[in-house]
C-alpha cells in the first residue's frame, strides 16, 4: 500500500462536472481532486458514471457544465473542451474497460503507438528511413522494450494482440498507456474478468508504476478487496452523483455508500 502522506499537491481537479446524454444524466455536478503520486479510486454500481468521468477527463466527452483543472508547468490551469490530443500532451494516459487495442497490430506495435506523441520525424524521412528516422525508431524501441520487460511479455512481442489471452491483452493495454510516460494514469477496470493470480499480477504492476515511476493513478475497480487495499483515497459515484469521498476506512463506514451497494451484487 502506498502512503497517503507521500501524496503531493493537487495534479488534477474535477469541478462541478455535469454530463447528459439526451435525458440521461451520466454525471451530476461531480467534483473531486487527485493528488500527485496517490492511488485514487473511483467506485460505484454499474452505470454510476465512472467510465463517463474518465471520458470527460480525456476530452472524449465534453461536459455541459463544470471544468477540469490540470497541473501544467507547476500551476493548476483550467481547461475547457480540450480534445484528446491536448489531454494526452498534458501527460494523461488511459486504459480501457472494454479492450481497445489495435487488433491488426503486434504487441510491440501497439505499445509503440504510445510513443507516437514523442516521434516527430517527417513523412519523407520516414519513407526513406534514413538518419533521424531510423535513430528515432530505435530510440523509442528501447523505451518500449523496458516496458515489455517490466510487464513480462517478452515472449509475445511479435504476436498479433488479438491472439493473446484476455489477461495478457489487458497488460498490453497498460503497456501502451505506460509508453506515453504519463504523469497521471487512468485505469478503467484493469482487473475485470481476471482470475486471482492475474489480478495479483496486475495489482503488482500498478503499485510498481505508482512507486517506482511516481505515476499518479486513478483507478476504477469493482473488486472492493483490491480497492480498499491499494487506494489512498476513494470517490464513490451513484447515479451520476458523488455520494462519498475519503480514505478507504471513511468510505467503508459511510452510510450512503453502504445503502448504494445494498442489493447490488458486489
Amino acid at each position: 500500500m502506498s502512503d497517503a502522506q507521500g501524496a503531493g499537491d493537487v495534479i488534477l481537479a474535477v469541478e462541478g462536472v455535469t454530463l447528459s446524454f439526451g435525458g440521461v444524466r451520466a454525471l451530476n455536478e461531480v467534483s473531486f481532486d487527485v493528488r500527485e503520486h496517490e492511488v485514487r479510486s473511483i467506485i460505484g454500481p454499474n452505470g454510476a458514471g465512472k467510465s463517463s468521468m474518465l471520458n470527460v477527463i480525456n476530452g472524449v466527452y465534453h461536459p455541459q457544465q463544470g471544468t477540469i483543472r490540470l497541473r501544467m508547468d507547476g500551476a493548476l490551469r483550467e481547461f475547457h473542451d480540450m480534445d484528446p490530443h491536448e489531454v494526452a500532451l498534458s501527460g494523461i494516459a488511459r486504459t480501457f474497460q472494454n479492450l481497445a487495442l489495435f487488433k491488426g497490430m503486434s504487441v510491440l506495435d501497439n505499445i509503440m503507438t504510445g510513443r507516437n506523441l514523442r516521434m516527430h520525424t517527417n513523412l519523407l524521412l520516414q519513407a526513406l528511413r534514413i538518419g533521424p528516422a531510423a535513430r528515432e525508431e530505435i530510440e523509442h524501441r528501447e523505451a518500449v522494450e523496458l516496458i515489455i520487460d517490466f510487464l513480462e511479455i517478452q515472449a509475445y512481442r511479435k504476436t498479433p494482440v488479438g491472439r493473446l489471452p484476455y489477461g495478457l491483452q489487458k497488460r498490453v493495454d497498460l503497456g501502451r498507456a505506460l509508453a506515453m510516460e504519463p504523469s497521471v494514469l487512468l485505469l478503467d477496470e484493469p482487473m475485470a474478468g481476471m482470475n486471482v493470480e492475474e489480478k495479483q499480477d496486475m495489482c503488482r504492476f500498478i503499485l510498481d508504476v505508482n512507486d517506482q515511476m511516481g505515476t499518479t493513478i486513478v483507478l476504477i475497480e469493482h473488486d472492493m478487496g483490491v480497492v480498499m487495499d491499494i487506494s489512498d483515497r476513494v470517490v464513490v459515484l451513484d447515479y451520476g452523483r458523488k455520494i462519498g469521498d475519503g480514505t478507504p476506512e471513511e468510505v467503508r463506514g459511510n452510510q450512503a455508500v453502504i445503502d448504494a451497494y445494498l442489493g447490488v451484487s458486489h
Binding site: N58, V60, D83, P84, H85, V87, A88, L89, A93, R94, F96, A100, L101, F102, K103, G104, M105, D109, M112, T113, G114, R115, N116, L117, M119, T121, L123, Q126, A127, L128, R129, A133, A134, E136, E137, I138, R141, E142, E145, R176, A177, M180
Partner: protein, 354 residues
Amino acid sequence: MFYRENGQYKTTYGADQQMLPILQDRIFMAVLLLFAFIGVPLLASDYLLLSILVPFLILALAATGLNLLVGYCGQISVGHAAFMAVGAYSAYNIVLRVPQLNFLVVLVLAGLIAAAVGMLFGIPSLRIKGLYLAVATLAAQFFMDWTFARVKWFTNYASSGSVSTATIDLFGWRVDTPARKYLFLLAVVTVFTLMAKNLVRGHLGRAWMAMRDMDVAAEVIGIRPVYAKLTAFAVSSFYVGVAGALWGFVHLGSWEPLAFDINLSFTLLFMIIIGGMGSILGSFFGALFIVALPILLNQVPAMLGLPLATATKSHLEVMIFGSLIIFFLIAEPNGLARLWAIGKEKLRLWPFPH
C-alpha cells in the same frame, strides 16, 4: 537449407527492425530483384512485357497507394481512379507547358497535385465513415470525370477530348522499347514500394493503423485524426497520381477521360480485396491476378482444345471476379497475402510440424 529463423539471433534493435528479418527472405528478394532487372528484359517477349508486366507494375503501384488508405488507415475510397486521372492530366499539362522539365520531376509534381486534390476530397472523412464516406469519394470520381471531359483547358482543347503523349526522355535515355518501358517502371515501382513499406513500419503507419483499428483509443493516446486521415489521403493519392501519370504516358500513350472512369476505381478496390487489405505484398498479388486472369481465360481453354467465345470469356471473367471477391470478403478478408503468410508459416515448421 530449411526456411527458418533458428540461429539467426538479432543482437540489436536495428537488426530486429529490418524489413525482412529472416535471412532466406532477404536472399529470395535479392534474387527476385536481380532476375526482374536483368533476367526479365533479356528473356521476356514484347507481348509479355507490354501486355502483362507494364500494366501489372503500374496497377501494383496504384493498388499499393489505395491500400495505404483503405487497408492501413481504414478509410474507404471508391473514387481513386479520379486521382489517377488527376496525376495523368497534371503530367500531360506540365509536359505540354514546361517541356524542358525532366520527366521524373514531372512525375513528382503530378503526384503532389494528386495528393492535394486527394486531401481535399479526404476532408469529409473527418466527419463521416463507411458508406457515407464511400459516397463522398464517389463524388470525387464524378467531379473529376466531369472536369476532364468538360474543361477543355486540361485536354489542350483537343476536339476529340483525347490527349496523346510524346516518348519519355530521361537524360537522353528514351523510354521507347518494351524492355525500357518495363525497366523504367520497375525502377519507379521498386523505389515507391520500399518507401511505402518504410512508411507503414514507421510512426505514421502505426498512426494510420491505430486509426483503422480503434479510433477512440488512438485519439486518447494522442494521435490526431485530422493528421492521420489527411496524410493517408495525401500519400495514397500521391501514389495513385504517379501511377495515373505512368498509366497515361507509358501504358496508354494516348487516352480519353473515360480511361479513368469508375470501373477503374472498382478494379483498384478488387485488387486490394483479392490481394490483401493492409498488405503491400497483397497489392502486388491483386494486380497480378487482375492482369493475368483475362489472359489465362484466353489461353488455357484454347490450350485444352476448348476455345471459348469472346462473350463467354468476358462473362466468365466477371463471374470469377465476383465469386472470388465474395469468397475473400467472407472467408479471408486479408486476401492472397494472408494465404501466402499461412503458407510461409507452414514452411517454417516443415518438416517437423511440432
